[in-house]
Amino acid sequence: MNTPLNKLPIQAVINGEPKMFLAAPGQILADVLRDELELIGTKIGCNTGDCGACSVLVNDRLVCSCLVLAAEVEGQSVQTIEGIADGAVLHPVQQKLLEHGGLQCGICTPGVVVAAKALLDSNPNPTEEQARYWLAGNLCRCTGYDKIIHAVLDAAKVIREGAAS
């Protein structure tokens, strides 16, 4: 087992704030976020990159934090679900998921929000097909996906209208 002796000091920008933490060489980012940094919004589902519950952005790139070693994010920026809302103001994706009932048990929701935000950052006017393919790596066993997709497309509209006004 890893002992504290071989832990690596890692410096990274987490949700906009420079942070330093210790990580074992084989420790995954998802575990460090949850156990060391107390950012427990990121959920761990499958631990093999299949379910998307642990989705985060590393240097604005959507990834599964269960398939990233914590040591890899040295010097990089990480955005988690905790960094999506602007204080008490929800991100449009979050607001629309609430309005459309796009969540039930909520385990997949942080990953869905992060993934959908990444989609709308790169493409604020996705087709339904594009949204469904982009979110294909975020499994939800409750909603049947329709409500999530409707919420994301509705959030896209809000974002476009915000940019236009």
């Binding site: 084989g26 990834v63 990233v68």
Partner: protein, 291 residues
């Protein structure tokens, strides 16, 4: 995980000296196979070497005659390189079929190749594009065509001291296009039952002057089917020439039967895919000629 050491070399020289230390080391690019393998108990390295800080391993370059794809460059980066994606749309098709958005953000063409799954999507597309592996080892560099890099399921031709640095593709000649098609039960997030990557070159009269046909998921490794390419060369891709390529692809197949499909089904389907891939590449060339 019992990983005791994490090393991120910044140059090829540094990487070589780390690899030369031997022991149970694993090279890390996107980690989408390695970290899953560790999680599932199939791999247990004590050292991980992160290759993504070595410029040659992540760079994408379009030269005068060749394309250079760093072995650790992510599918996302390759797909968003408009030059590479437009020169090799079939390679882009293949990379865009791998896993989810999250997986594509990390997985690499070099990793897909080193992992050597018989069903890997990018490998038939690389073979169709006549990609060559640039390999660096203690005794220097060597070049190996992708189809010769594959040894068996999960096995590649790298020696312990060697590192896959780049994939080097000849720049497609005018009138060339490539395609990758696969069959999966679902439209995404699935593993190929059968796949094919093809590249064809047509002259201005529509005569095929070069063709490479590769097949995947129907043999222990992805295969180059030279006879299938030969069946197309000199033809205008008439029905009988295409039928010859289809027959050659089926003859080269030796699939297993498993939960994804029987051997008979896979052998049939790979032929259907070859036919459709030829038609699609031809349509792409014709569309390009009109544009």
């Amino acid at each position: 995980m019992a990983i005791q050491e994490f090393i991120a070399p910044k140059s090829l020289t540094e990487a070589q000296s780390v690899i030369a230390r031997g022991g149970d080391a694993a090279c890390l690019a996107g980690g989408t196979d390695l970290l899953v393998g560790i999680r599932l108990g199939m791999r247990d390295p004590n050292r991980v070497i992160d290759l993504k800080h070595i410029p040659e391993l992540t760079a994408l370059e379009v030269g005068t005659d060749q394309l250079f794809i760093g072995a650790a460059a992510s599918a996302y980066d390759i797909l968003h390189n408009s030059e590479i994606a437009s020169l090799c749309p079939g390679l882009a098709d293949a990379l865009d079929l791998i896993g989810s958005t999250q997986i594509q953000g990390r997985c690499s063409a070099g990793g897909n190749l080193c992992n050597a799954s018989p069903a890997a999507d990018s490998i038939p597309a690389l073979i169709a594009n006549a990609a060559v592996c640039r390999i660096l080892g203690n005794s220097g560099e060597r070049m190996l065509p992708v189809e010769e890099f594959l040894v068996g399921p999960g096995q590649n031709a790298l020696n312990d001291d060697e590192l896959l640095v780049q994939l080097i593709l000849p720049k497609p000649a005018p009138g060339t296009s490539d395609t990758y098609l696969r069959l999966t039960p679902r439209t995404e997030m699935d593993i190929a039952v059968a796949g094919t990557g093809i590249s064809i070159t047509l002259d201005t009269a529509g005569v095929c002057t070069a063709a490479r046909v590769a097949i995947g998921a129907v043999a222990p490794t992805a295969l180059l089917v030279e006879a299938a390419g030969q069946a197309l060369i000199g033809s205008k891709l008439e029905d009988n020439a295409v039928a010859g390529a289809v027959a050659a692809a089926r003859a080269a197949s030796s699939p297993i039967s498993d939960k994804r499909g029987t051997a008979e089904y896979r052998t049939h389907v790979v032929g259907v895919l070859v036919k459709r891939a030829i038609q699609r590449a031809q349509a792409r060339i014709n569309a390009g000629a009109k544009a």
